[in-house]
Symmetry: C2
Subunit: 478 residues, 2 copies
Amino acid sequence: MAQEKRFVEEITPMDVDFAQWYTDVIKKADLVDYSSVRGCMIIKPYGYAIWENIQKKLDARFKETGHENVYMPLFIPESLLQKEKDHVEGFAPEVAWVTHGGNEKLAERLCVRPTSETLFCDHYKNVIQSYRDLPKLYNQWCSVVRWEKTTRPFLRTMEFLWQEGHTAHATAEEAQEETIRMLNVYAEFCEKVLAIPVIKGRKTDKEKFAGAKETYTIESMMHDGKALQSATSHNFGDGFARAFGIQYTDRNNQLQYVHQTSWGMSTRIIGAIIMVHGDDSGLVLPPEIAPVQLVIIPVSQHKEGVLEKAHEIRQRLSRVARVSIDDSDRMPGWKFSEYEMRGVPLRLEVGPRDIEKNQVVLVRRDNREKITVSMDELETRVPQVLEEVQAGLFEKAKKMRDSKIFTALTLEEFQGILEATPGFIKAMWCGDRACEDLIKEKTGATARCIPFEQEHLSDKCVCCGRQAAHMVYWGKAY
Amino acid sequence: MAQEKRFVEEITPMDVDFAQWYTDVIKKADLVDYSSVRGCMIIKPYGYAIWENIQKKLDARFKETGHENVYMPLFIPESLLQKEKDHVEGFAPEVAWVTHGGNEKLAERLCVRPTSETLFCDHYKNVIQSYRDLPKLYNQWCSVVRWEKTTRPFLRTMEFLWQEGHTAHATAEEAQEETIRMLNVYAEFCEKVLAIPVIKGRKTDKEKFAGAKETYTIESMMHDGKALQSATSHNFGDGFARAFGIQYTDRNNQLQYVHQTSWGMSTRIIGAIIMVHGDDSGLVLPPEIAPVQLVIIPVSQHKEGVLEKAHEIRQRLSRVARVSIDDSDRMPGWKFSEYEMRGVPLRLEVGPRDIEKNQVVLVRRDNREKITVSMDELETRVPQVLEEVQAGLFEKAKKMRDSKIFTALTLEEFQGILEATPGFIKAMWCGDRACEDLIKEKTGATARCIPFEQEHLSDKCVCCGRQAAHMVYWGKAY
């Protein structure tokens, strides 16, 4: 126990310093390492295996909804980036510029893609001629670069991995349907696969994507009461189509502009997994995306028959779960802490007495519950318990989030709550940018979203007292 | 028939202009498109689906052999690239340089990775301390950039997709074993999955990778008699370890340098698939990686029951193969040509008379053989025939390759063969760079490899007549 305790103490408790807790967890759970390139992270095997599981499950959902994967160039010529006015204003200040190829100075600078709307538009302009060519439902998995000043692994890095969907449709209605469809795919994915409850809504004009007509978002709540924008889905209307000249001939032989969308989720979501489910012992991973769902720890493994039995169990369970075994010569206490820190959802202990009783002990990472299971029922019970952990994590995260949602009717109330107990503030808003700016200035909170599920808290804007137009979720954010 | 013929004629015959044939095929089979970025291609859904199948099967092989995926930064600081002398000499002339971030000039230039040895070394230096940390068996899937002057889709592009494995080992023997193990993985993958026969061997010093002690290669033969280096596996010895200071403490508490390898395969291999299996009707895809393995073409589909039956067959077959159906209102002849051009391995025709006889007709893409199959045996026969196509493609490719392998005992013979019938020339070599250079100068051929399977053709070097050291495969190459 002494050893176990000492080990756990290497992680700074959340309450003492949440930022340090986060840094400790990602380093000690072996998710990332820092690199010699400022602001770029190295994603280590354990971190990358989480991303691979996310990719697999998200990609399957994209394909089920009719999308196809493609690959666009890494570079965007400066003139192409500049075609859509709002878009270039939003992104030009934060791109990396390639100016030389080999020893030669380039005639035109190339930026490393911060996002690929312009490249997809340039391609769509060439391949879309008739209504028969629509819709185009493309997605790509790649890395993008944004020249950030301050960076933190997963949450904000100069380079990050993501997917970006880019679609073109015949009508405004279809584009809007697609935008909401993909927001719903993300929301379902977050809740079912990552066990992260989300609030769905629309961004204010101030917060929307550079060049978008509307941006929709799913917002999740971290342990420290801050929000994390977990995915976004944008409806561009025909803005990009007009800037790039993407037109098709409709059934009546009329030239029309296409209507477009884009939507993305990135490695940032791994930061959310850490900050929603983690605790003072380290990482807690939802079984659906855990690289290892169950780790077998043999107890008194030098005793006859223990290791053989442990390996036999691994063999059996590897057909129903992602299983590993630690039969190294380290103490069981050390191993318990190690795999708790790495967030493995289930631990299976098996020792001489268990073998005698034809049983094993399962220990849940999420609530530390110990469950005795007969050897004869392993293949049925382990998947069940994994499902219980998955469901338990969602419930726990939802309870945590709901405990951090508050209502404010005045700006004073708003400020008071945010200082005392950071979280989401539900408050009415008139819809004016001036009030949004003032709220930010006075409280540090931004409009996270205008939720689809509106509530009528009062008739008045929390800031100016005039007629309210919407209820908004406000909060500080990553 | 007239329509079918006209359609096929859009592809330039191989014999008329092989380069144009290649360009026609990749465009008409919808694999890639050109982009506004010089030398960068857009990989379209059909081309990318082939790459996804390659990735899936190759990645499974890497994991079976104990490798883990990671992600390293896209950028390499100039000082890091320069650490290994031979390596920087080889790559510095062909990298893209980032000089500005946003509006700011960078203190140090960053190159966009042309390959990531330096980044892996920099990381290994930090994470390897003891023999317990070895081996490190890492791989990454990413894109790399090389500033090429002339480019062709898949074969040579400024940006391409690949995987790069990077491993570190305690001993020289282990590194050598790994180098050969991965060469064998590539060879088995090419032959079994891509149906491309390969010659395994070692590169001459002139042709090896910048910074490698030894480079091993698998070489395949294209339809025009040119070679394509299909994958390489490098043994670095401790050269990079010394340059980067990657040391570990061995069991005797002595400091030792690690021994390293790297190995890679890229989207270039799609060029090989096209040029090994393709014909004058277009693409021919091995079933193992074909996005669509069987396409159903209803014949007389306006007749009662035909479309229903076709969809029923699709339903049944989708459990055993990747199946699609074309029930558009185009003529069957058009459809036959279209899916031949796209290289779909099997076509299934079903019309009223077939339905009456409780049968369908399968048509193999590789040899156009027609096979009548009872409706009752679909689920067993289709996978069998797909296997026969896969095996048939390999045999056909092997026969084609073997017909283009020649032996030369003198330089005159060598030149004569290469001018008349391009292919691989087997010839003895003394081992001197001067002879290798002269052969290149006189014939345009390079040493493709010193094959593992040596033959004794004569005692004398084909160039200088002195004592021969090796038999070498020579050839012109992509």
